[in-house]
């Protein structure tokens, strides 16, 4: 029982491997000690997880169809459309029962198969080659096209590649011999990058972001820099009256923001005593890792 379910699981997870057995007609569900099993024992329990994994290994309807064709060693150019359609529908049903998220593409393919099947039943006019084109032609073309890129993907994966089969070497140079010049950056490049990332995150729509003045952000950084050495600072020392009212307001907002986000804390020893500000708790060692010069 144990061995059987294990073999079953393997066969289930790797459709390609089982197809490679080259068995005509029905695929054995499992091979136990060399003996193929064609039917499931009545009492065999297949964990639903295993089935899910199995079904999720398909990269879409074309992949599933290819699997159905290949596992029966059928010629792709002459697929028995009725049989394949029935099997395809079984899988789609199974996915539904398991409530797997069934991509719309699978249903579209089901409809297409049904249509081809019905057209195959109609008598085909022999005369005109154009008119009488096999209804399967388009599907076969797509299957082949997909299959060659499925193969190309596998070939690509098999190429010896960096980080797996080869590693780039990078020997050091004795210190002092080389001054690596860091790349130049144009501010517009930075802004373009920002524009792109914001467009991706769709942050443009957020009013909160748009209205937030940059001076507030900058002031938050400045306050943190002031408090960086640790210890307490008098709240009043953080304000610079020479900046005028807007400057003081910005500092105040920056403090509120930092306190709200649990970076700073306020301490007052007793009522009406001076209020002090400090960074919350001593930070991890990284905190001290400031650039040396």
């Amino acid at each position: 029982m144990n061995a059987l379910s294990e073999a079953e699981a393997t066969a289930a997870v790797e459709p390609d491997a089982s197809a490679a057995l080259g068995v005509q007609q029905e695929l054995p569900l499992a091979i136990v000690q060399g003996m193929p099993f064609l039917t499931l024992p009545q009492d065999l329990y297949i964990p639903p997880d295993a089935l899910e994994v199995f079904l999720e290994t398909f990269e879409g309807p074309l992949d599933l169809l290819l699997y159905l064709i290949r596992r029966q060693n059928l010629d792709i150019l002459d697929i028995p459309i009725a049989r394949i359609t029935d099997q395809y529908m079984e899988y789609v049903e199974l996915m539904r029962e398991l409530r797997l998220e069934l991509a719309a593409e699978y249903l579209l393919m089901a409809a297409m198969l049904a249509e081809i099947k019905s057209r195959m039943l109609l008598p085909r006019p022999q005369v005109d080659a154009e008119e009488g084109a096999d209804p399967r032609a388009d599907l076969i073309r797509r299957l082949q096209e997909y299959e060659r890129f499925k193969q190309a993907a596998a070939d690509l994966d098999a190429l010896p590649r960096l980080e797996r089969d080869h590693f780039v070497v990078e020997a050091g140079v004795p210190p002092g011999c080389i001054q690596r010049r860091p790349p130049d950056v144009d501010l517009r490049e930075v802004l373009l990058a920002l524009r792109e990332v914001l467009a991706r995150a769709e942050l443009f729509s957020s009013h909160r972001v748009e209205k937030e003045p940059l001076s507030l952000r900058e002031r938050m950084s400045q306050v943190l820099e002031r408090l960086h050495g640790g210890g307490f600072a008098r709240l009043t020392d953080l304000f610079d009256p020479s900046e005028g009212r807007p400057g003081v307001v910005v500092t105040f907002l920056a403090l509120l923001e930092l306190i709200k986000s649990s970076v700073l804390e306020l301490v007052q020893s007793e009522s009406f005593a001076p209020i002090h500000v400090k960074l919350r708790e001593r930070a991890s060692p990284e905190f001290h890792e400031q650039p040396a010069a």
């Binding site: 084109a133 060659r148 190309a152 690509l156 010896p160």
Partner: protein
């Protein structure tokens, strides 16, 4: 200063570069007055490749340049230097990458047509982030979809000299054939010649087999 032998300079540069160097870049290491002939550099490369026979490293020709890399035969040991396991890529990602590589420039819609499923934004993001793929323009149709192509870094990563080095695509058998027509096999539409030669310079084959 007495100039050290050409070969030692080339070797040190290749080993320090951290990526492939083109012949021009190698020439650029030398001042006007001391610049060697291209042939001399190629000779040095050949000699180095021979020196590296039976060693832990080899010279490979990739992405239009030359690089020193760890030999595949010792890679499993070297890989233990880094904790991370080499990432495995999903089939969806590899299929998308393959379509971009063989059919570039290509739009996302065209990729989806062949694969029969939507291409997730995440895949495109990963491919661009790894700098294997980039947008090279937009097709002039409604929606102006982005056109994707592979980069030099893609060639470097997969150890290809050029796109011509990609494994050839399998042929398509024409469905017309079973209607009684002639069997016409469409020529593989992508990279030109299947290139059987390994891009590792010289002697690599022998040494891969050395016990």
């Amino acid at each position: 200063m007495n100039s050290p032998p050409l070969k030692t300079i080339i070797e040190a540069a290749l080993i320090a570069a951290g990526g492939p160097l083109t012949l021009d870049q190698l020439l650029g290491l030398f001042g006007e007055d001391e610049r060697p002939e291209r042939a001399a550099i190629l000779d040095s490369l050949g000699e180095l490749a021979a020196d590296y026979a039976g060693r832990g490293i080899e010279i490979a020709e990739v992405a239009g340049g030359y690089r020193v890399q760890v030999r595949a035969s010792v890679a499993p040991w070297v890989a233990r230097l880094w904790d991370e396991k080499a990432s495995r890529y999903s089939r969806a990602l590899l299929e998308t990458l393959a379509l971009i590589a063989y059919r570039q420039p290509i739009t996302r819609g065209e990729i989806e047509d062949v694969r029969g499923v939507t291409v997730s934004t995440n895949i495109i993001k990963t491919l661009t982030e790894r700098e294997w793929v980039r947008v090279v323009g937009h097709r002039d149709v409604p929606g102006r979809p982005a056109l994707y192509a592979t980069t030099r870094r893609f060639l470097e990563y997969f150890g290809l000299r050029s796109l011509n080095d990609l494994p050839p695509l399998s042929e398509i058998r024409d469905p017309e054939s079973w209607l009684g027509g002639e069997l016409v096999s469409r020529p593989p539409d992508a990279p030109v010649p299947p290139s059987p030669s390994p891009n590792v310079l010289l002697t690599s084959e022998q040494t891969e087999n050395t016990p």
